[in-house]
Symmetry: none
Subunit: 147 residues, 2 copies
Amino acid sequence: MEPLTGEFRNTLDEKGRLSVPAKLRGELEVGTFTLTQGVDKCLWLFPPAEWKNLSEKLMSETSLFHARARLIQRRILAPSQEVELDKAGRIAIPQSLREYAGLSKDCVILGISKYVEIWDAEAYRQYLAEHESEFLEAAEELGELTL
Amino acid sequence: MEPLTGEFRNTLDEKGRLSVPAKLRGELEVGTFTLTQGVDKCLWLFPPAEWKNLSEKLMSETSLFHARARLIQRRILAPSQEVELDKAGRIAIPQSLREYAGLSKDCVILGISKYVEIWDAEAYRQYLAEHESEFLEAAEELGELTL
DNA sequence: TATAATTTCCCACTTTCTCCCACGAACGAC
DNA sequence: GTCGTTCGTGGGAGAAAGTGGGAAATTATA
């Protein structure tokens, strides 16, 4: 199984289409993916198997009668939509999701091994800048792990 | 296994290719390496086994639903890409990584035992200058260790 | 029903990447 | 020093990827 990682910068065209970088398509070439709102200001794109996995966990752990459960379902499960790759390897991003992530022309696509994140380039830059010191702290703590 | 050390100065050509110094290729001659963002303003190049080691540790500690975990994934895991040596012993450095490390024509390649660091020459000079006093302090503390 | 707006499919252009070969400098052996 | 090999650097041709736009199909709107 391939790595499915990398950071790429593609442009969202006027029709709301975005190329999925060839290196992230990998074996996923065929079939439909699930696109939904991420936890930060980004979108998550899941291959079928991973989405099945995640959605089932979310559903099973949660009860209709817990406020928190309903919140998670509304925030992750409900906004999800299926998208397909066209012949040029692009997906059409529905307007509601575009708005959620604040996508403009320049987008950043992140491969995170098992799924893909889509960010507005400027929003991502800002996210990284805001969290740099937190990252450095975390890296320090990871010190024991490293080679 | 060899030490994999040394400091080298090679040039990044206009196509984004950089020679890996022959002395660092060593036994790593074959196969694909993983290139990713380092913690400072440099790139890290890992042999397959070392990367597997590190990435699995990073993944195991992480969940989609922890802010810190997502940060680490985005900062270390996501930018990683596999690269291969061409017949001349070069790797092609993807644009996003080139930008992150601010690579221009002159690059410094550092062998650090189990992995390799790639710096922009000027950025590296500056890093060393800025951290010299910190280094001297650290060296003091190492006093007990030395020969 | 007719018209407008949006989506989908397909084609074409431009840029980037990839593979291959070649030149010249540095190094080592003799 | 001379010769041969290795190493770093550059460039050309072909392929692949990303991007834009037109026309058909679908949906919505009046």
